[in-house]
């Protein structure tokens, strides 16, 4: 990995989070037009975030839900007593 690429990657999170100043953003985007490897890393890192962010949580198992609501009812009763 070239030094320029490493510099770009060190700013990757802020770049993806829209948290960098416009001059640095322009510098990164200029590099991305020239460097396929960095383009792929940026793209696949964004996809990584999107996949996790958009993933649906699995349903809570029935036995765990029963125990949760049972404990909650007890807590409610004890708080009211």
């Amino acid at each position: 990995m070239k030094p320029k690429c490493e510099k770009i990657l060190s700013e990757l999170s802020d770049y993806l989070d829209q948290g960098i100043d416009p001059a640095l953003r322009a510098e990164i985007e200029d590099h991305l037009t020239k460097c396929k490897d960095c383009r792929v890393v940026v793209d696949t890192t964004q996809k990584t975030i999107d996949i996790f962010c958009n993933s649906e949580p699995a349903p809570l198992p029935d036995d765990a839900r029963h125990r949760l609501y049972d404990a909650l009812q007890k807590k409610i009763r004890s708080c009211r007593a």
């Binding site: 990757l12 793209d43 649906e56 949580p57 809570l60 125990r67 609501y69 007890k74 807590k75």
Partner: protein, 233 residues
């Protein structure tokens, strides 16, 4: 090895009184609630206000809304089914018990996430004492910098069924060091801000940013084996 992180103790002094235990009794149907909620179901702040005023069903609506996400959070952090369930349950019970302390300066869900994270971290530390310290420095060893660069194609996640995807994501996040996965969980799954994540974990903003970058790159690398172009599903 450093002592367990101090951020937890401060938080728990504020929120964590008592330690509700999981109920081993046979599950039974919930009794009718004395104050049926009239609150519109998609209005979180109104539900919280109603719950604070004594509307139990409003609080149960909040629990029902977030139980899956909170369980995923505690499962991702603890990597242990029993601990995850305990932490989830304790988080909801503490949230109910301390609802009057919630001042509405953040979303209720953000407040709940912070409680759940701390419950999950306590479980993790109990199971692995002297191994989990979020606030110690982690040296940058460069191991998260990409070595292999392979494209994934446009919609790699569509190669897998939802159940398969859940297992893949749970598996790869479980391979991360806890100090990375908890930061990733809060920032990129729960979508807390960098500042809120730092505050919740007792870390500096630069530390959160550094760990987030490494977590993202490591997860990208781990997902390579499932998503690279030409990979059979």
């Amino acid at each position: 090895m450093a002592a367990p992180a101090c951020c937890l103790s401060g938080f728990m002094q504020k929120w964590g009184m008592g330690t509700p235990k999981m109920n081993p009794e046979t599950p039974r149907p919930l009794p009718a609630t004395p104050l049926p909620s009239k609150v519109v179901k998609d209005d979180e702040s109104a539900l919280v206000a109603a719950a604070k005023a004594g509307d139990v069903s409003a609080f149960e609506t909040l629990v029902g809304r977030y139980e899956r996400k909170i369980f995923r959070l505690t499962q991702n952090i603890t990597q242990n089914r029993e601990d995850a369930e305990d932490a989830m349950q304790e988080a909801f019970l503490k949230a109910y018990e301390h609802l009057d302390n919630f001042e509405g300066n953040s979303r209720f869900y953000t407040w709940l996430v912070r409680i759940a994270v701390n419950q999950a971290l306590m479980k993790l530390r109990k199971r692995r004492p002297n191994q989990i310290s979020l606030d110690e420095d982690i040296e940058t060893d460069g191991d998260s910098m990409p070595r292999e660069v392979e494209d994934w194609g446009p919609s790699p996640e569509q190669r897998y069924q939802q159940t398969e995807m859940s297992e893949i994501l749970s598996g790869v996040i479980g391979e991360l060091d806890p100090s990375f996965r908890v930061v990733f969980q809060l920032r990129d799954i729960e979508e807390l801000s960098t500042e809120d994540t730092a505050e919740a974990l007792g870390l500096s903003v630069p530390a959160v940013k550094s760990r987030l970058l490494r977590a993202r790159l490591k997860l990208r690398q781990k997902l390579n084996r499932y998503f690279r172009q030409g990979e059979a599903s």
